[in-house]
Symmetry: C2
Subunit: 401 residues, 2 copies
């Protein structure tokens, strides 16, 4: 049955068509290369209907016929794949110490992936807008050169982002009430594509949900391991933001009333006792510096330096407390550690898992697995692109025929 997520809206034929277009497009994405007959079989749609829908998608240049078929009995099938070439989606992540930009095509192929150092903590929102706009212009130009139409841009920011794309508070960037979405649109001067802004953890969760090794997992939580710690929550297959869009703010939940002081002024926040700052000796600012310190920590851990191992175990235990909260409250299938947690995962996970299993009421932690992200540092930016792709409504794209 058709179920609308919010207020039930009446349906008509256009909806049926749009739904089925999306179904077929998704089927191609997941099973490519595949034939029309395969699609009909796997979706349950009639062969004739699939033919019509595929023709529509080909008209819109979302799908392409690729050569013929294998050697087997019967008429050879014309295989279909996503047509990556005519479109691109751009994702950008602004963080405390770096900016990342990626562009992907419809099939999720990464067209480019840039990362540059960025003094976020000392940059105003207005300056950041200029920087991001410059990067986006360069990406857009590159896409134009490849004759790709840019479908949209989504920017991830570590902070509270309202539904309208306004950054309410970004503690680690020092921004308040910055209309990033509006200003960026203005700075790009009629960019010809929609601009969205979202929380970085939300976008990273989307990236895992679409591109990660556990893609498609209906319930997953992504934990950013940047200077700040945030959670992106996917439940029942969709990102959940809460009423005002401020969900996932796990970083300032108190884990230890006697813990270290957090930059937010409270004591023992998860971010303070289990953030990357609790691992590194002193808070470095440039990603290069953080990277150097991080490499050093990894080296020491490999060398079984006892002080390092104990620090990492402590952080792992604290992180386990946070993950246990998530597991108890939300019971996700997977919790994914991202950012700087990734290289440290081998030493964090044992303590984390012990804590998790000891603190969850459900047996075996409710089946909750904890893994390190494999998407690299650009997860949030990639997630921005994923969000753009998610918002592609196949029925709305221009027809060429």
């Amino acid at each position: 049955m058709i179920t609308s997520t919010t207020d039930p809206q009446p349906a008509d034929f256009a909806d049926v068509r749009a739904t089925n277009l999306a179904v077929v497009l998704r089927s191609v994405r997941e099973h490519a290369p595949c034939s029309r007959a395969d699609i009909a079989a796997s979706t349950g749609l009639n062969k004739a209907t699939v033919s019509s829908l595929v023709a529509d998608l080909i008209d819109r240049r979302l799908v392409r016929e690729t050569g013929l078929t294998e050697n087997r009995v019967g008429r050879p099938a014309t295989m279909l794949v996503l047509d990556g070439s005519p479109y691109a989606a751009i994702g950008v992540e602004v963080n405390v110490d770096y900016v990342t930009a990626v562009a992907v095509d419809l099939s999720g192929e990464r067209l480019l992936s840039w990362r540059r150092s960025f003094p976020g903590a000392t940059t105003t929102a207005a300056e950041a807008v200029a920087t991001v706009a410059a990067i986006v212009r360069r990406v857009a130009n590159r896409m134009a050169k490849e004759e790709r139409q840019v479908l949209g841009l989504a920017v991830g920011v570590p902070g509270l982002v309202g539904a309208d794309g306004t950054v309410r508070i970004a503690p680690n960037l020092g921004w308040r009430d910055a209309d990033l979405c509006g200003d960026l649109t203005k700075a790009l001067r009629d960019p010809g594509f929609p601009v969205q802004v979202d929380n970085d953890a939300n976008l990273a969760a989307l990236a895992e949900h679409r591109f990660g090794p556990r893609a498609g997992t209906a319930n997953l939580v992504y934990l950013t391991g940047e200077i700040g710690v945030g959670a992106g929550i996917v439940l029942d297959g969709r990102l959940r933001r809460g009423g005002q869009g401020y969900g996932g703010e796990i970083g300032h939940i108190q884990l230890d009333p006697l813990g270290a002081e957090c930059r937010c002024g409270r004591l023992g926040c998860l971010e303070a006792v289990a953030g990357i700052g609790a691992v590194l000796e002193h808070a470095a600012l440039s990603p290069a510096e953080v990277q150097i310190e991080l490499d050093e920590v990894v080296r020491l851990a490999r060398a079984a330096d006892s002080r390092t191992l104990s620090t990492l175990a402590t952080v792992g235990h604290h992180l386990g407390k946070g993950v246990a909260m998530i597991a108890n409250l939300l019971n996700p299938e997977v919790v994914i550690l991202g950012g700087y947690y990734v290289p440290l995962a081998p030493w964090l996970l044992p303590a984390l898992e012990a804590e998790l299993r000891g603190r969850t009421i459900a047996p075996d932690a409710g089946g909750c697995q904890v893994v390190a992200s494999t998407l690299g540092y650009g997860a949030a930016a990639l997630g921005g692109a994923a969000r753009v792709l998610d918002s592609v409504d196949p029925g709305r794209l221009p027809r060429i025929s």
Copy 2:
């Protein structure tokens, strides 16, 4: 656009029809009494379509014409209301100290509401099945006498309930791996209606979502204040259970590493430091006894007994920590305190709110309001009925014409 929650399923005309039937039914429920023209205006459906859909619903005895109209210019309208009479939904809550059963009609009118003491802590699952079956049989007989068809039964239990209706663990009842749903179905011997089992907090959240003063709020969390504490989480308009259905287990999240020992063996669980047991002098077993103690606490609080006020403030502060976690992670519009918290709310809320506001990163706690439930002790049972009503697919009910 039509959006399916899980894997996208193809749509056809039957789906359009089913969707629109549900839209019209819901419109009648929310705006009753109303005319066909009202429905067309509020849903955007064509007048002709609405007429056809309404005729269908009348055939299925879900909707009834009720007299004519007021005095105003133009042709008088024939008003429509939900036809409560032919159907009933049954909800039951099994808890540590009582069992509640309610039956409601389609419009949510309570047909009956029973509550009886029940020694849950010393009762095996098998005995409970017999007790519940007996109650349900009596309710079903009563409904049969009123010539109502029972649409279904949902039973709420304080514990982990799997997707198949198996009670994995109910700590406060002492049950493990009880196939409550299956056994109950067997005990009822071909009841002629579907039987579901769910967590009590989940059902109570559904009750608030459908029948409470904040009905329709897209993001709300219900906190049970029974012997145990659990959360029911509604996000984006639907109950979210997580991967295995074990979400909402907030009761055993550690709030205070130095806190009192919980019956689960850990220290400082929310349930131990902010459950009803932390308010009452000693854990009483029968609801009558709990009620007497509770009344005494309320009396003392009214009389401004300093020890009582300080106890309630402490519990309120702890509860505030828990609610702050929820607000930070999920950003709901409302958190509803239920069960035994309700009569204590006037003294709990000030401390709770102070803690909440101090611990949430979003300004003004992300717009999160905390209120006491007004649905009474039968919230979970009522929610069971709500769950049955939610699963009513208007297209599936028999046509009479």
